[in-house]
Symmetry: C2
Subunit: 189 residues, 2 copies
DNA sequence: TAAGTGACTGAAAAACTAAATTAGTCAAAG
DNA sequence: CTTTGACTAATTTAGTTTTTCAGTCACTTA
């Protein structure tokens, strides 16, 4: 029964964060869901935020794995950039925990949540950066400031996938790929 | 003394919105500043929001004029895109009213303010769209979806000018021009 | 006697209430 | 006719009380 207590706690917390968000999840609730005493949580995690941190780290790993899964080495670099980025943002808009956190940030502006979402964004940018550096080393694309490039790539994607929908009909994956191809491949002019 | 009452009201309101923001500006205050009775304001404007609307419209006109001023027809299209966009965002970060409104939106989330800022953004996109359509007609650049392109151009600029500064040293106008040139002129790959 | 627990505590947030503010009106003044 | 500012209803703020909750630690249990 009382086997991996730590795992039980993380699972319970993940479930609760996904369902109610960070603020609305109480440690008593997590303890009850995990079938442990509240004190037990504190033998594994210094505080609520550290528990959250661990869950976010797993989430990032899961996202990167999803992106990797969709990349095919024989396809052109541009196509893989699109595939990886699209998958990452799809993940963001489909994964229950991400949805809840994005919503909580917008509606309540919870500080801890803002920080963690920023953290997720930074990890994605770091991931893109490594990919771009790899492509440059292999001579697949010309040298460029990888920090700015990866940053800008993500921002363009977020603009096309999320911001665009505020005022327009959503763009299909094909349309987004088309637009990105223009900017990545030949430039607007 | 009591000459253009309407103008006095708009000037007083502009000053107050710039200084205290939308919410913290009271109609009594505007009336006093404009040296008119409060009722007089309501002979010119249906309500507070309509007064605000008029001021925002002027602001947009001023912004567009600034952008136009900086454009030089003999320069290449790319260069002018950069000049105009950079000037627009510089205006946004230097103009007292814009600063105050952006701050008010972030800190208090005032609905009327969010709507008006969205309106400003839409006007900028419309302006860009007209410019791009003009360039396409003249054959200066190849045809493309002008709605998406202008939207994405603005988003890229906001990312480089504003978002970037959250985690990095600000980019100089030259650096931004350089990055944009890559994406606009030849593409990343 | 080490691991696990949940009642307890202070600090923070929510709920409630009373008081103050303010957008918009309109009867009277100019 | 235009202008006004006292007035009102509705909202917001400020002050107070109540509740909630993260984190601790004395105690239990195995």
């Amino acid at each position: 029964m009382a086997l991996d207590r730590r795992k039980m706690i993380v699972e319970a917390a993940t479930k609760s964060f996904s369902l109610f968000g960070y603020k609305a999840t109480t440690m008593d609730q997590v303890a009850k869901l995990a079938n442990v005493g509240k004190g037990t949580i504190y033998t594994f995690f210094k505080n609520k935020e550290e528990l959250f941190e661990e869950i976010i780290s797993s989430l990032v790993k899961e996202m990167i794995a999803e992106a990797e899964f969709v990349i095919q080495p024989d396809l052109p670099f541009t196509e893989n950039v699109h595939r990886a980025l699209y998958r990452l943002l799809e993940f963001r808009s489909q994964h229950q925990l991400m949805i809840k956190l994005v919503q909580e940030e917008k509606e309540m502006g919870t500080l801890a949540v803002s920080e963690k979402l920023q953290h997720v964004e930074n990890e994605i940018i770091e991931y893109l950066k490594r990919k771009i550096e790899g492509a440059i080393t292999k001579g697949a694309i010309p040298a460029a400031d990888t920090e700015i490039t990866s940053f800008l790539l993500l921002k363009m994607y977020i603009a096309l996938v999320s911001d665009w929908e505020r005022n327009h009909e959503p763009l299909s994956s094909e349309q987004i790929a088309e637009v990105m191809k223009v900017f990545l491949l030949k430039g607007l002019v």
